[in-house]
């Protein structure tokens, strides 16, 4: 699949994150840029800094040093209302799904629409459309604990995609699933990418990288080790 890339949506310069002074930085001098419409894998061993980088991207952490721009916002100074506005443009999928167990599938997906003050009728329509697209409409009234792992991950993806985000961040989205569900989840992410969403998938699954020929950012002990572009994607090395 050829990806049509446009404006830069994520830019990191000398990005460094230190959790405790004196400790080894979780990220050190990381540089990269992502253009609109790209599909990127972020890989590295456990503790390499993948989750830290994703958390910086959706504003759960602040950079210690360096600069990080997400959709033209400087993440070093973003908080409160402005951070909330940015998060409405980012969909996040977690390895542990992060679904509210006491709310139905439809209610879980609707959270992203309630926060923007959308009227109930519109929310119902959007949630129905999204669940339908992900083959979950018949589970709309089911509580998450009654779903299989694959279904729960699809609900998490539905919640991340329901408001058409500019960026989709997925942290080990297939890490807790059976291997035969991996193509299903990846196909959903590729579909979102095809609609123009920039997708970044953190994974340590080498098989996934080999199967899906995408740009790969590799972190090693907090440093950007490699930024690999596949010729099939028609993208050249950025740095």
């Amino acid at each position: 699949m050829n990806v049509v890339c446009g404006a830069v949506v994520i830019q990191a310069f000398q990005l460094t994150k230190v959790y405790d002074a004196g400790d080894r930085p979780a990220l050190k001098d990381v540089r990269f840029a992502l253009q609109k419409g790209e599909f990127v894998f972020l890989t590295g061993a456990s503790g390499a800094g993948k989750t830290t980088l994703l958390r910086l991207l959706f504003g759960a952490e602040r950079p210690t040093r360096g600069q990080l721009y997400v959709n033209n916002r400087d993440m070093s100074h973003l908080h409160g209302w402005a951070l909330a506005q940015l998060r409405r443009e980012i969909g996040v999928v977690f390895q542990d799904f992060k679904l509210v167990p006491t709310q139905t599938v439809a209610e879980n997906v609707a959270y992203a629409l309630h926060v923007v003050g959308m009227p109930d009728r519109s929310i119902k329509r959007r949630v129905t459309q999204t669940l339908g697209a992900l083959g979950l409409l018949h589970k709309a009234r089911t509580l998450p604990p009654k779903l299989s792992g694959g279904e729960q991950q699809r609900v998490a993806i539905a919640r991340a995609l329901v408001n058409d985000p500019v960026i989709l961040l997925a942290d080990e989205p297939t890490g807790n699933l059976d291997a035969d569900l991996t193509p299903v989840i990846l196909e959903l992410l590729e579909q979102a990418n095809a609609r123009g969403t920039t997708v970044m998938v953190a994974t340590h699954d080498r098989h996934l990288l080999a199967t899906y020929k995408k740009r790969v950012l590799t972190l090693q002990q907090g440093e950007m080790d490699e930024d690999e572009h596949f010729q099939s994607e028609d993208i050249t090395r950025v740095f």
């Binding site: 209302w81 909330a84 506005q85 998060r87 679904l99 509210v100 992203a112 959308m118 109930d120 919640r159």
Partner: protein, 299 residues
């Protein structure tokens, strides 16, 4: 905006219903605290009114010496010329006994067999209505006592002074109780909201991740606190209205010997009821804001 408000209320109500036990205990505690506070305020309010009313209607009784019973009319004539005195009259022994019988009602049988002159005759002085200071009435009593033929002067001001000191005490107790119960209400709401926040921490985290603004995260919990306080305030009014008849009757009985017939003890005025409900809602709001201040700090 309207969609948001509806959503906030729906979320607040759904949380209250979901953790019904916790919410019920919180509302019950708030209503009892406010009811106790309101009862004290009610007693203070009535005592204050009564003291003021009694101060406006001061009367003196000048008891005549045994050998000077006939001098009553001349004493009346003299005191009526004083600017403070509105009216004076002689109360004969039999009239005094008859009044006493009427006051005692069914218990007047105790007085049977007593001679008519068991109570000495007196000259009754009614003063002009104004807020009389204790020293003024005391000075006037001394002047009456200096008149020939008067053996003793009694006046209600002594009772008023006693009542005033009781009032100061009750008012202080009410203030301390008010602050303590206010703090207790605050802590109850704080704890309830904190537990709710803890129970819903996953939901709050998700909402924060999908772009909920700080106001959006906080509003449902503030509404929940306000609703708890509001409902607690309304219930406390019901409790007080159920108790007030009994309480006021106790107060009337206790002060029967003082209460002039013109003074009616009154129940909670409507404005006080509104203030009570408002206080409940305010404490509820403060409790939830304090609970959230720490819990949502990192969001």
């Amino acid at each position: 905006m309207v969609a948001n408000l509806i959503y906030f209320f729906r979320r607040a109500l759904s949380t209250m219903l979901r953790s019904f036990g916790l919410t019920a205990v919180a509302i019950a505690t708030i209503s009892i605290s406010l009811a106790v506070l309101a009862t004290f305020v009610l007693v203070v309010y009535n005592l204050q009114r009564l003291t003021a009313e009694l101060g406006d209607h001061v009367g003196l009784s000048a008891y005549l010496q045994e050998d000077a019973w006939s001098e009553g009319p001349s004493i009346v004539e003299r005191v009526e010329s004083w600017p403070e005195v509105k009216k004076a009259w002689v109360l004969t022994s039999s009239q005094a006994l008859s009044d006493f019988r009427n006051e005692l009602g069914p218990d007047s049988v105790m007085l049977e067999g007593l001679p008519d002159d068991v109570v000495p005759p007196s000259v009754e002085l009614q003063l002009y209505e104004k807020r009389w200071a204790y020293a003024e009435v005391k000075g006037l009593a001394a002047r009456v006592l200096r008149l020939g033929g008067v053996s003793d002067v009694r006046y209600g001001q002594q009772d008023i002074e006693q009542l005033s000191s009781v009032l100061v005490m009750v008012r202080t107790v009410t203030l301390i109780l008010g602050l303590s119960l206010g703090l207790a209400t605050l802590l109850v709401v704080y704890n309830t909201i904190r537990l709710t926040l803890y129970a819903r921490r996953d939901e709050i985290e998700i909402m924060s991740l999908v772009g909920a603004t700080p106001i959006f995260l906080r509003a449902p919990f503030v509404i929940e606190g306000v609703l708890q306080g509001f409902i607690g305030g309304i219930l406390s009014m019901f409790i007080v209205s159920l108790l007030e008849d009994v309480l006021l009757q106790q107060l009337v009985d206790g002060l029967a010997y003082l209460k002039p017939s013109s003074v009616e003890l009154i129940s909670i005025p409507p404005l006080f009821g509104v203030l009570l409900v408002g206080l409940g809602a305010l404490l509820g709001m403060l409790g939830s804001l304090v609970a959230m201040a720490r819990f949502l700090q990192w969001r």
